[in-house]
Symmetry: C2
Subunit: 410 residues, 2 copies
């Protein structure tokens, strides 16, 4: 373990919240507040240990426990934190939240006074009916806020920060992209190790355990909850989707699909890779398996070609519509990707379908998106699907993952 | 590392959500719903990766990512989950949430139908103005819920689950207590390592780094956010409170206070320990340091003696009032402890003061509480304080930590 990851025992303590990372997001947020004509933005501080934190909070403040405080940003670039007396040393340690108000037992009064000072027309708060990453305000906090501003005209100035958060979270900074690149690299390296472990006779659970041990040996985390990361879909009998590991044994003549990613320095990768388990006497991949693999590959390539700035988020799903039926397979009617970042499902933008009832938007430079979907069952063989990670650039995109262009054979 | 923690590379994958742990909490929840005359209890599922999860969710479902679902419990013991089609395999994997409804794009309709089936008089939902651990419902989810139940008489049946969560979180099951015991044991072991590292000339940052490396070497996490865990208070110049590590150098004649805990299998310890750094020629601890140490020790002992079932949560703070002034030190006017569990600040019950404006309650068997406070600055020497972890039993309490009865000397 020492050899694999020397940072575990020596050197500075790595955290997700280095000042440059936070500073970049703060600068973006100020710019976006001006784009959207938002005067003030309120985010409650949290203790992040076991849920209940606003997903925005670590992005603009780092993974720092502060109970019962409020972070206040203005469109002019002011950043003021209101925190309790025990916590006054925590915000300045960010290097960014240096303007601290000790709430001294009256956070509501402090907030009302501060809001009056800024005299905002529109105050953004973190709630949303459609994007959980923009819905970090608890109902209790909403009631508290209403009561803190009661009797002032600011109570009527509260608006949803949904679009602010959508843009802020979606426009990855260079440092964020760098961390996602490293997560992709580590995920590919673990996929390579897994490829040497896969063979007929092994269960899904064994392949899951092997992968997780490799994650832990490197001192990393899984990109989504460990109960189903990796997802190991063995042959035609395992259900596709978010499935915990099972006892199905890989049989010759079956495919194996693995959906997996790691989180490195707080940022995620999410990829799908395919293997074929040869039957006795076979030298290659059966024609029917090969043909579906190539069709899915072409489909994901079409999705990727259609990920570019300025197009609606439903555009890639529309572009690939019809491709599977033309090759004689059933249509795929779901979305074809999602944002990737601090979380595997990183909020909007989401590559949904045109009519899925979810709010659409436009793909922007700096978005990092998965390109996936089209998963198709081949009777007697198994599921075939692929997933790559894509960075939107000023003019098109860059595929961050090394695309699988041939079925891997074991 | 292999030697220190073989689980990192071999054996089953450890998770916080073993079925017995969840099952214990589910059984408690059903009982408490009957105590409180609550017919139905709704908790939204979450993706737990980067905040935004309901703190209750991992306790009753495990650390499993499920977006956009609802967990429904009845006072009769029914447990039904409503989840999307990709996620239908996740709830049964708990071994407990085996009754699954595929929401098939209409979770609101599914929920309304299910609620009608139970026909509840009172439906508990997770919001609170005073306890963040009982306030996991987001404002967006609240609006969604109102809309899902609009036009039915159940919209008016929604009540706060605050007291349900207070009791459920507060009454630690034997398995939960076992995990806290292990966290206390590991914390004490790391304190022992740190004691061999402390010496005059070292900075707070160096002692912080040493402690964190020891946490990582054992494959553990800190009990609260790593930016200020451990808190290392060096001599009389460092501020007391939640402070990130600083560059102050430990001087002969100063005290050193460390506030620290680890999280083991999802459960926390939280303890404070004291050292004195001898000046040249000194053989023991100066009388003034010794006298304050003994006074604080006696104060924490009084807190512990007054932690017992059936007394109000403010009783321990009242009991110790006056002890410091009687010995000639300034009064301590804050709370003297908090619940400990999945989080270091584990929600109610909280050992606050009689008049702090926070809701009180009664200490119950199964509560695990810290006993602390009374921190006092000795001019020219530094801060002195202590903290122990205490389990409330049927008749009194059991101190889980090994109490520090002598100042440690370096």
């Amino acid at each position: 373990v020492k050899g694999a990851n020397p940072m575990i025992e020596t050197g500075p303590i790595p955290t997700v919240d280095e000042p440059t990372l936070i500073k970049g997001k703060i600068e973006q947020a100020t710019q976006i507040m001006n784009e959207l004509d938002l005067d003030l933005w309120l985010t409650f501080t949290s203790e992040i240990g076991d849920g209940g934190a606003d997903p925005v909070y670590p992005m603009i403040f780092g993974e720092r426990d502060v109970p019962g405080g409020v972070l206040v940003m203005s469109r002019a670039g002011d950043r003021v934190s209101i925190v309790g007396g025990l916590d006054v040393a925590v915000p300045p340690a960010t290097g960014i939240w240096t303007d601290v108000i000790n709430s001294a037992g009256d956070p509501a009064g402090c907030l009302a006074t501060l809001v009056r000072r800024f005299d905002p027309g529109r105050i953004a708060i973190n709630y949303s009916l459609t994007d959980r990453k923009a819905d970090g305000l608890s109902h209790g906090q909403f009631l508290w806020l209403q009561s803190a501003l009661a009797g002032t005209r600011y109570a009527a100035a509260l608006v949803s920060a949904e679009e602010l958060i959508r843009r802020l979270r979606g426009r990855k900074s260079p440092e964020e992209v760098g961390r996602i690149r490293e997560a992709v690299r580590q995920t590919e390296s673990i996929f390579a190790e897994l490829g040497r472990f896969i063979r007929a006779g092994r269960t899904g659970r064994e392949m899951y355990d092997f992968t997780l041990r490799e994650v832990r040996r490197r001192g990393l985390e899984t990109a989504w909850s460990v109960d189903h990361c990796p997802i190991v879909t063995v042959g035609p009998v395992a259900p596709i989707g978010h499935t915990p590991p099972g006892t199905t044994v890989l049989q010759p003549g079956w495919t194996l699909q693995v959906d997996f990613g790691v989180k490195v320095n707080g940022f995620c990768a999410d990829m799908q890779r395919m293997w074929y388990c040869r039957a006795p006497g076979e030298t290659g991949v059966p024609a029917e398996v090969e043909r579906l693999f190539r069709t899915v590959r072409r489909g994901v390539d079409v999705v990727i070609e259609n990920i570019r700035p300025g197009v609606p988020t439903w555009h890639p799903a529309e572009a690939v519509r019809g491709l599977l039926p033309e090759a004689g397979y059933p249509e795929f009617t779901y979305g074809v990707g999602h944002s990737l970042g601090r979380a595997t499902h990183d909020g909007a933008p989401n590559l949904g379908t045109k009519d899925d009832g979810r709010p659409s938007g436009t793909i922007e430079p700096g978005n990092v998106l998965t390109a996936e979907g089209l998963e198709t069952l081949l009777e007697g063989r198994g599921w075939i699907s692929l997933e790559d990670d894509v960075l939107v650039t000023a003019t098109g995109n860059e595929v961050l993952s090394t695309q699988q262009r041939e079925m891997m054979v074991v």
